[in-house]
């Protein structure tokens, strides 16, 4: 068998097993992250290469190296006196015991016996572990050096909050777009996407500056684009479904406390907001920022025991909020209501921020809308539970720059922290996208079901992403060696074991066609219609 790599020589369950490579296998052909199967005496194990090393039988080899320019000498010595070693982390048992036979691959509870043969995993093995594409599983990419499809169980994925991490420019957005398309087709959940950089609604840009189609172009009947900046959308020739406006009276003190850092508010200033809200009611923002330097004002401030400097600090903050063009004294239509209407119809909503990519706007709007939507969902869910009626459609909220919402300081206060912690109780989960996962509260990180991570090279970021994962140190070496594009490590709830993938292609006409036909295979007439519209 040509795929044989070597034999297991030592190891433990905790740290993985050491494999001595056969002389015929070149260490240079190996790659970290590749899959192997180990033929134990009673079980078959499925594992991943996490480290590759060189060994010599006698330390003198290293002191006076033999002349390997001579092909005969190098042929003789390779595999005998000098050899390659692999460190393999067995992850699953894929055949052998009863459980595996009935329930499919199981997590490993032991290690293969001495000198068990180690082979490269075949296409069938990988398919057995990650499953083929079906009505629940969505093809996200292929393992390294293989053509097998790695599929994610999306209904399972959206049951928990998930994270997509990676340095800037490593393909987070592409990956997210692919995942969103998958969810749209297969998860029976609706998405609400806070699209800071206008990448998901109509069109996005690839690294080369080329425009790629986004959700609405591919699935016009399933996606609605909301915008905060009508003008920018028009300029980009995006057909929008709704223009979001936020009234002063819609902003609550809780929305402000999250903006403490971005607006540079002091702690007493945040306290003062709550007092002002109590005093002025729903219209507090307008009234508070309209207070002028008068005796009356001083009297009010005295009554509320707010210090003058605190008030000035707060006022500066309030003014910068008022300056946001989409904030209006009064809005005719309730944005939250229309978003919910769309979501209820099974439409996925992408909220574009247009030119307002400033973090204040993003945090304010995302938090404000999400809080109300979540409250609605919670109410409906409780009602559904009480009356034993239909539960609301699961909702996945996608947020970018997640560390702004979920950093340890604010995570306990924001709605996103609550959603991440309480998870699926109310059928609302998060898809968190971030480039600095170390900035996210550890409690929130620990609650994430599935993490997809592109290349990270900051030690703290890597640590925080991998916190609590078994085989952490091994995965660490895999993670820091990902290529900077199109590669990602997926681990957690939706995959049976950590897996490195090469993301499926996105951006070519063929890739769109493939994505659309997956939907068609489901039997959806809509997809067929979509294709007709797209291709004429």
């Amino acid at each position: 068998m040509t795929d044989r790599l070597g034999v297991v020589v030592s190891g433990s369950l905790e740290s993985g097993v050491e494999v001595k490579l056969d002389g015929t296998v070149s260490v240079e052909d190996m790659a970290v992250g590749r899959y192997v199967t180990i033929e134990g005496q009673k079980q078959r194990f499925f594992g991943m290469i996490t480290d590759i090393g060189l060994g010599v039988i006698d330390p003198r080899f290293t002191l006076t190296p033999p002349d390997i320019a001579d092909p005969f000498i190098s042929e003789v010595l390779s595999g005998t006196s000098t050899y390659g070693t692999l460190h393999v982390l067995p992850m699953l048992t894929i055949a052998g015991d009863v459980d595996t036979l009935i329930e499919g691959p199981q997590p490993v509870k032991t290690v293969p016996s001495h000198f068990s043969a180690v082979n490269l995993a075949s296409q069938q093995d990988v398919e057995l572990v990650f499953g083929g594409e079906d009505e629940k599983r969505f093809y996200v990419g292929t393992p390294l050096d293989m053509e097998t499809k790695i599929c994610l169980d999306l209904p399972e994925l959206v049951k928990r909050s998930n994270g997509i991490f990676g340095k800037s420019g490593t393909g987070k957005t592409f990956l997210t777009r692919i995942l969103l398309i998958g969810m749209l087709q297969k998860s029976a959940a609706v998405n609400l996407i806070f699209d800071m950089h206008n990448e998901y609604g109509w069109a996005g840009t690839s690294e080369g500056g080329k425009s790629v189609k986004a959700l609405k172009q591919l699935f016009p009947a399933k996606v609605a684009v909301f915008t905060l900046d009508e003008e920018s959308s028009r300029r980009r020739k995006v057909s929008t479904d709704f223009v979001v406006r936020i009234g002063y009276d819609e902003i609550e003190p809780e929305d402000m406390s999250l903006l403490r850092q971005t607006l540079n508010l002091t702690e007493p200033a945040v306290e003062a907001i709550y007092q002002l809200r109590r005093r002025f009611g729903r219209d507090w923002l307008r009234q508070a920022s309209d207070l002028t330097d008068s005796d009356e004002t001083s009297q009010i401030l005295n009554e509320l025991s707010i210090h003058e400097s605190t008030f000035q600090n707060l006022k500066r903050g309030l003014n910068s909020i008022r300056r946001l063009p989409f904030i209006e004294p009064h809005t005719p239509v309730n944005s939250v209501k229309s978003i919910l209407e769309y979501l209820d119809r099974g439409m996925n909503v992408v909220l574009e921020f247009g030119r307002y990519t400033d973090i204040t706007a993003y945090v304010l709007v995302a938090n404000l809308l999400t809080r109300r939507i979540y409250a609605q969902y919670r109410e409906r869910m409780e009602k559904a539970m009480a009356e034993d009626s239909a539960k609301p459609t699961p909702l996945v909220i996608t947020i970018e720059e997640a560390h702004r919402f979920l950093n340890p300081e604010v995570a306990s206060r924001t709605i996103f922290g609550t959603i991440a912690r309480e998870m699926r109780k109310y059928n609302v989960t998060l898809l968190v996208i971030d480039q600095r996962p170390s900035g996210i509260d550890t409690e929130v990180m620990s609650q994430m079901g599935t993490k997809v991570t592109c290349l990270l090279d900051n030690e703290r970021d890597i640590d925080s992403v991998l916190a609590g994962v078994s085989g952490k140190s091994a995965l660490k070496s895999v993670l820091s060696r990902l290529e900077s594009k199109q590669q990602a490590l997926i681990f957690g709830h939706a995959v049976p074991m950590p897996v490195v993938i090469r993301t499926r292609e996105y951006g070519s006409p063929q890739s769109y066609q493939e994505l659309l036909t997956t939907g068609k295979a489901e039997g959806g007439e809509q997809a067929e219609k979509d294709i007709e519209e797209l291709w004429g």
């Binding site: 002389g23 039988i57 006698d58 003198r60 080899f61 006076t64 033999p66 001579d70 005969f72 000498i73 042929e75 003789v76 010595l77 595999g79 005998t80 006196s81």
Partner: protein, 201 residues
Amino acid sequence: MRLINSSLTDRVGEIIEASTSDFVAQCYELYELPPLGSLVKTKDGELDIYGIVCHATTGSLEPGRRPIARGKDEASEEAIYQSSPQLSKLLRSEFSALVVGHREKDRINQYLPPNPARIHGFVYQCPPDELKEFGRSLAFLTLLVNTNLPVAKEEIVPAALRLMSRAQDDPHAFLVAAGKELAVMLGGQYYQLRAILGRLK
């Protein structure tokens, strides 16, 4: 080389001293020694005992009587022997062979036979076919490597393997396989291994 090419049943000598691990044979003709490292065999009843030539000497028949230089007035070396024909009777060539296996019925075992060879047993040079058959296993290398020999292993082992490889269908593959076997056996003796491998090519 002359002997390898001669008749398959060519006798090369007769045993004059034998022990469990080796035997010494005297050649019938002066200087007609099998090459160092070549495979020879002798019969012991049902058994064929195989040996690898690991040392050879040519000297005076009588231990106390050393040859003297005779060529001062001769034109060539051959002329010395022609003018003193008794020399070929007073001198003798001997070789010793390390026992590396035996054939019992049709089976070649590469370990020591139960009894040493007999004195006056005829010693034959193994023909290429037999060499090839013997080379199917490399277990004899253990005996060769682990016995104290009068000549360094770095000489005997490569000599034996080189000769044996010529009888194989794929001499290179044979040498690589043997090299790998040696690399394992001599895991702790790197310099010896390096010397042997250097002489194997």
